[in-house]
Symmetry: D2
Subunit: 208 residues, 4 copies
């Protein structure tokens, strides 16, 4: 493909939220990973669409829905409200028809005040994206509010595992030029760089 | 890569169960999709390991764990017991250490007596596989017992969406030669990741 | 307590929806079960609040939030959108502060087009209500659209199990005057009328 | 009823685990809450049944299943393995037939190494117990390993909310004599079901 298009969506009801900032930062890292221009990342701040999302007509939301559906890669970000994604984000996603995100590689991003809600990305947000037909090859990215001040360490740790499957999902070779590429080039075709997949090693001392 | 290795795991407590049959059939279809030899699909029937899975030593299980961890593609199948996967399957997966399935592309397969439990694959089984580091790019494959007698229609319908992301996750080109490629206009939503995803069409008639 | 107050909430974006009708019908049955006046059931149709739910000020929504929080028993109903509750419903619930539904006995009601989404009540909606501090003693009530034309059989079947724990949660004696009271008065203190709790019987033929 | 019977179940594969200790401690507190004798709490350590749980015949497990099904109140405890309950626990619960826990008031207890898995009780374990017909009126009790050394503060905090609905579910008056009843103004949010639930207070400062 030509350079993949990347979009960041924030479901935080406050415009210009830190959730949006985290989504943009993650999207820019992912754009670089996909050899796209980080400056070309598009941002959809659902807070600015709140006034029409639940209205019968919602032209600005329609435009945003189309932009996300047309993206190659979308970071779908939400703060944790009531142990799940926000109603604002869900109201936006509800406007899609069946398989409205088919062909989109999606990354759930959850910002939680407490680490106790870290599973919300996997058990609540990811199934919605999958239902919409998105491909979600990597783990959800979960950030606590304490991590928002300095995102790079958290993004690095997440990308160490997520980079390879995301690149593959975009039709790119998995192994090249991602932030953890310091891992030996020997990293086998399927395995993320950080996981040498030496099977017996995985089995040692299994269950706590 | 060379031809991907494919393994099918059944978490049904009855040896030689229909769950196993469905897992094998799905794995053979996926092997063909990945240009691998369907006859080379390996099968792990956890029913045959039940005697040692919860025991302090479990050499046969260790061998099975290593085989699954070394596979490129694994179908992880379970009947629905108490609205989730079986304890047998979870006892097997519990034996992995952290990221024990890193580098494996996994397909959750859930066989349910009632369609009411169809979400179990997405909300219960998939998060376990993701926690283990597996890449789960496609929707869970959910089969009702009524569908087991004639699997191909259900597999065809599922592959229409699942083939492209699974091929990509394996590092193969998404578009070529998959079983439903001949499917005509009937499968328009199959949009591979790079497709232009005619956005307005996705938005029509959104929410019921 | 005096006669419990009962409220029905519909999270369907269409005003006067069948979801609302089902929520009202369930609430009326529950009012009767609690020796309250079915005609006194209050109804909150979130479709009529959609215009302000995501706005900075939302006085009508505030009034509705207070009515639900003050109820003894609340039926919280939603159609299934994208395999979960609607954004409209979540946007309403997001307006509560921590433990905003403390002291409310809640019944999740999910209306799904396909039985395949029946788990949404238990895995998605219930955890939100629990997070808000509601007590959810009974199973979610799940209705397919096909059941909406004649609700009573589905409500009867659900109440056979749900009546006793709901009555207890309201501080009422579990055994009296509920629709399945034909079950022998001998039904022991804890056991729902339909479940004689003869332990060995529960164990027979356990796993399919 | 006469004094309720209370049982604690541990799904930790290690016999005499800290999970078991936490389950017993919680069960003893709950026995006191229900005016039962804490010394009469029964304990089921599934680690001791591991050898037969997945076997065709499992007489000791059958006895344990019957004891739990006959209890008025059961604490069902598990460590978090792979972001969910253990296979050992699920293998035990799988042996029940439909509604095998009908009439039992159940408390999910999850012990996690990381707070990031705190939702496992609500989204994974609770639905299994509900599917089995148990009544789960209170929030799951989630403990991190760091809290195991001094359980009382965590149990106190949890009981401040959980005591009233649990007492009601057991057919006891909610307000009396529970361990936190002496707690002064510090526990205002404990609002028993019948409390007036000063609604405006719940709404303040809603969404973060």
């Amino acid at each position: 493909m030509s350079s993949p298009s990347v979009v960041a969506v924030s479901g935080n009801p406050r415009a210009g939220s830190r959730t949006l900032g985290a989504a943009r930062a993650a999207a820019e890292r992912l754009a670089a990973l996909a050899s796209a221009d980080p400056a070309a990342v598009e941002v959809v701040d659902l807070a600015t669409l709140a006034g029409e999302l639940l209205a019968p007509a919602h032209p600005a939301a329609d435009a945003a829905l189309a932009r996300v559906a047309a993206a190659d890669l979308a970071v779908i970000a939400t703060p944790v409200y009531k142990a799940s994604y926000t109603g604002l984000l869900k109201a936006f996603l509800d406007l899609y028809g069946a398989d409205g995100l088919a062909g989109v590689v999606a990354v759930p991003l959850v910002v939680s005040g407490s680490p106790a809600h870290a599973l919300a990305g996997e058990v609540h947000l990811r199934p919605v994206l999958v239902e919409l037909g998105a491909v979600v090859p990597a783990r959800s990215l979960t950030l606590t509010e304490a991590q928002l001040a300095d995102l790079d360490p958290a993004l690095d740790a997440w990308l160490a595992r997520a980079a390879a499957p995301l690149r593959r999902a975009l039709g790119l070779a998995a192994g090249s030029a991602h932030p953890t590429a310091a891992a030996p080039a020997a990293a086998p075709a399927v395995a993320p760089a950080a996981a040498p997949a030496a099977a017996p090693a995985h089995l040692a001392g299994a269950a706590r």
